[in-house]
């Protein structure tokens, strides 16, 4: 589904952050990406979602047979890519419901599906609300405006549930969640698992992986994937920290 080959990117006119990332994700798989602060995890996520301000200086990204990097952010979303932001953006004045209905109908239109009217949309929302246990009051408020950290994360997963992408990239969705919220969100993500859908989770905590068991775990450091393994790799990291990474990257340079 997703094939990243030797991806190198830098901040436009600035520092290079991704130094040759290789990653392949197949439908139905769940991958976890871990790694020290500042190692390039969010940058990778944003490069995949199409944020402006990065320059691709090498490599390719293929998504369901398409050149993902050639698409505008909205085209990537319509093609089935969804990024749950590490820092969801507040949009005062636009209600969550209005926003999500516009988004869903854009995506549906491009898939050649019928747009949902207000009634059908409401029915869908009611169903999806249960999955992430989100408060109805939040849906009527402007997108993320004044939401608590945890509410913002939950809202991202709610959007994920409504938009039903083929590839979901979750950037630290677990950070800032209390224990109960973490369980609910994990439950929501698990409910989204399907043989057609792939999930890439960026996380710092092994705990999340107890709830959402990944097929593969990768360590991203210094802008490249330094090590990959099964779920045990996460346990190993929990014990060892990233000191070995520093040693290894130092050796490389």
């Amino acid at each position: 589904m997703l094939k990243i080959t030797n991806l190198q990117a830098r901040v436009a006119g600035g520092k290079q952050i991704l130094n040759g990332v290789n990653l392949e994700v197949r439908p139905g798989e769940v991958h976890a990406i871990m790694g020290p602060n500042g190692s390039g995890k969010s940058t990778l996520a944003h490069v995949l979602a199409g944020r402006e301000g990065y320059e691709i200086i090498g490599g390719t990204v293929e998504f369901r047979g398409q050149d993902l990097l050639a698409l505008a952010p909205e085209e990537r979303a319509r093609a089935g890519v969804f990024l749950a932001f590490q820092y969801p953006v507040e949009i005062p004045g636009v209600s969550n419901m209005f926003f999500l209905r516009t988004a869903l109908n854009e995506i549906r239109r491009h898939r050649g599906e019928e747009e949902l009217d207000a009634m059908d949309f409401l029915a869908l929302v009611k169903k999806k609300m249960k999955i992430v246990d989100i408060d109805e009051a939040l849906l009527k408020r402007p997108v993320n405006a004044g939401f608590s950290g945890g509410e913002k994360k939950r809202n991202e997963i709610f959007q994920l549930a409504v938009l039903e992408p083929a590839l979901a990239i979750l950037d630290e969705t677990d950070s800032g969640l209390d224990i109960d919220a973490l369980k609910t969100v994990a439950w929501g993500v698990n409910a989204m698992r399907s043989p057609e859908r792939a999930i890439v989770m960026v996380t710092h905590y092994q705990r999340l992986l107890e709830y959402i068991v990944p097929d593969r775990v990768h360590v991203l450091a210094g802008g490249r994937i330094l090590r990959s393994g099964g779920k045990d790799l996460a346990l190993h990291l929990e014990e060892q920290g990233y000191k070995w990474v520093k040693d290894e990257t130092a050796g490389v340079r």
Partner: protein, 450 residues
Amino acid sequence: MIARTEALAGAAQGAEPGGKAFSAFLAARRGQDPDWLAEARADAFARFSERGYPSRRDEDWKYTSVEAIAATEFAAAPRPNPAALSPWLELRGAGAPLRVVLVNGRFERALSSLEALPAGLTVSSLKEALAADAEGARTLLLASRPAEDAFTALNTAFCEDAVLIRAAPGAAVGPPLEVLNLATTARAPFALRPRVALALGPGARLTLLDCHAGCRDDDVYFSNALLDADLGPGALLEHVRVEEEARSAFHVSACRVSAAAGAAYESTFITLGGRLARNSLHVVLAREEARCDLRGLYCVAGEQHADHHTFIDHAAPKTTSRERYKGVLDGQAQGVFCGRILVRPGAQKTSAEQSNDNLLLAREAAAHSTPQLEIYADDVQCRHGSTVGQLDEEMLYYIRSRGIDREAARGLLTYAFGNEVIGQIGFAPLRERLSRRLLEATGAARGQKE
């Protein structure tokens, strides 16, 4: 379709109304105007003739040129057949059950709905007011007002009619009163001079929906509107003013409000139409604890020019003002906001807050924002801020990452910016109509199939 009825009445006024035009006008008014009114007109006309139209050398007109008005010959306003106008009333009105309709500045009782006037509220035309209580009409119309300028003088000199509104002491008028000013289509440019004089007795409350609209976008006319409001002690006036003039029209208006002790003036100015729109709003907080809350949205594009000059005069202690204007400027449109706040000596414990935020949607659009604070008291809280900016890139990216294209994302954010002001309008039918209009204008309506 609407029939074009163009019975042109009266003498044409010159490019700059001259003495001859004025004499002809006075002669035509003979028998209708009492002496004091004819004199007031003559005084006003003399004041206008002395100074003429303002030029950009005047500090108050630095960013707004009225040359195009001065260069155009405006005929007297036509008198179309009222029956043909009802479709426009529905399109351009606020939808209030209680409504005064002025067509080209003239009170049209047949088009108005005033049968069920709530107790304590009286609404009359100039003619009716002169017949019923000439002295009362005189006081209401000609109470001494600050802020006389060329345009208020022109209105006094040439207005053909007026709406006089009174709320009795303590009258809490529930339903809003709409005053719809409609300008019609004519062969040649014409001038209309709508005028409203309003007095709220002590403790009275009223919501006024003050709509100014044209019919077709290529209609060329000049609306020289004036509204004077006297708020008695503890009175509350909610003033919603919607300017949807034809895109080729000129609109120069003044609103002069005076608030007695504990009175409150709350306004929402929505400016969408006109080739040139200039709104002056002058509020005198004359006695202790008077307050005002002014909101505004100007949303213009193409070659439009929208100018808001506000002047809040804190003339007494413990007076409060809050002011928030927003502008959305697309194409080559120009937005002007000038917010003057005067705190007079002795007006202690005054608080004033002002903001003006502008959104520029195109490179050639421009916003001029000028706060003018003159503070002559020391125990005062005063804050002001103004911004001119583009849409937030982070927000655009977030919206696009959900499948909404750049154009629609821009529309959504623009709608949100402007709708914040519209959302404050209490009367739902008008609020929803304006919201819908903004939604369509910004392109944010896509994806919202009913």
